[in-house]
Amino acid sequence: MTAVEFRDGWELVVGLEVHVELATNTKMWCGCSTVFGGDPNTNVCPVCTGQPGALPVVNEQAVRDAALLGMALNGQVEEHCWFHRKNYFYPDMAKNYQISQYDVPLIHDGYLDVEVELADGTLTTRRVGIERLHMEEDTGKSLHVGDTGRLHGADRSLIDYNRCGIPLLEVVSHPDIRDAETAQGYLRELQAIVRATGVSDARMDQGSIRCDANVSVRRIGDELGTRTEVKNLNSVRSLGRAILYEADRQIAALEDGGTIRMETRHWDESKGVTETLRVKESVTDYRYFPDPDLVGVVSPPAWVEEIRALMPELPAAIRARLADAGVPMAQAITLVSGELMPWFDEAVAAGADSQAVANWLTGDVAGQLSTEGVTLEDSRLTGRHLAELIALVDDGTLSTKMAKEVLAGVIEERGAKGPAAVADERGLQQVSDEGELRAIVEQVIATNEATVEGIRGGNNKAIGALVGQVMKATKGQADPRKTNELLRDVIGS
């Protein structure tokens, strides 16, 4: 892979570890619910609280989800894999070992193509290799009681095992990333794919997708530098900020003749800095060994194909389809990442023009929703509504300005009334009836002799004033184009 300069002869090297919490009904090893935010220790049982004698049994759906996501990431499904125990003590882990995968993960050797916008605004594709995707279990949640609310400075911690045992997929990339934009693009794209496959809602704010970054720098051509692991990245934005901060910190340290410590660092969003969390003096000895409570997972080709057949249309394919339909890339990305495709496809299926639909969805619809403070889902606005609205504009029934009012109306009504109904009810309709408009025009001309003379004298600008008069008389509902024609026609005659 060819070197990419970060700055001043330095190259940035980033690899990402992304944890995806699956949206299965039940936990990885037991029948407890995975619903987010229940009362503490209510979604627990002997298995997920590590009671003596309790045993794990694999959730079949979790394996299917893992295989589906793995294939969506272009990975190979391992024919025979198994679970290992990762042994380390931590109070939020009920058994003091995490059941994970070690030497043989379910998925290996995938990749993700990431669209990145270059400085000059052009788009390019960067391929990021994916080393592995493996199945494991989440830990419980600790509430740190003390002044800081964070672990440091807490004088005790309170543990809730509701999250303990929820299925996790860990997606480990190769250190192929050379700039913050690609890292952000990778995370955004992975998030979009996870949502498209439906294996998780991938919400960073709720921790259903979490990202750690391994960051190092080196002089171009040198061996890989010592990396630090940056945790607590709560948004795509903080991922980008943290990488840039960490890169600058490392370069500065090295340029001062210093060295980089192998350590885990905590991203502080408010201060915009990374801070040492702990130094890995020696690699922790997890004493991995095959979990004797579980048996192997065999994935015969037929089963793999059965899962592959469930693969939905993935974001990249959708964007390509939109490009063919003439939708600009920026809008295409918004449509996919904003999960607007169902509305788009419905509207187009109802006969609307792709670009018009894209304009409305990424423009006014988005705007209206945020002023109304509702999601597209809750607004009950349908693709058919959009198609209808666009048709009303095309046939001149509504001016664009009116159409926006109608859209607002449909959203206020939560879809109870369609665009046509809303337009009627609110008397929003362009006066484009020849006779009706001609009468008004003649009346305006009759009452504005002077202006009319001016126009006849060649002062064409003045016609605008007359248009204004007509608009006034029609309370703004006159079709401006027609009004102009009629005015010229009458004055000319």
Partner: protein, 98 residues
């Protein structure tokens, strides 16, 4: 192999067992004996022999993704040495996860 007192302390740290110097002095020869005896497995030529973790080569033992009633919180918290706000209470955690 012989396990030195320092190695015994290292293993005890991994196993999260507090050990007194007396225990270390007692454990060092005992563990060395046991490991020395167990090391006989090394005499067996087994390079290309697959390891056995189960008498039966079972595979794909799974359960359907169906909810089962959880335990009552009181049942689970009843045995806890310290409870606060319906959670298991532990003293200040020093080491970070992992």
């Amino acid at each position: 192999m012989a396990l030195s007192p320092d190695e015994v302390r290292h293993v005890a740290r991994l196993a999260r067992l507090a050990v007194t110097d007396e225990e270390v002095d007692a454990l060092s020869p005992q563990l060395s004996d046991i490991l020395g005896y167990a090391e006989q497995v090394g005499e067996v030529a087994a390079e290309d022999v697959p390891p056995t973790t189960h008498p039966f080569a079972l595979t794909n033992v799974t359960r359907p993704d169906e909810r089962r009633p959880s335990s009552s919180r009181d049942d689970i918290l009843a045995a806890a040495p310290a409870v606060e706000q319906d959670r298991f209470s532990v003293p200040r955690i020093v080491a970070e996860e992992g």
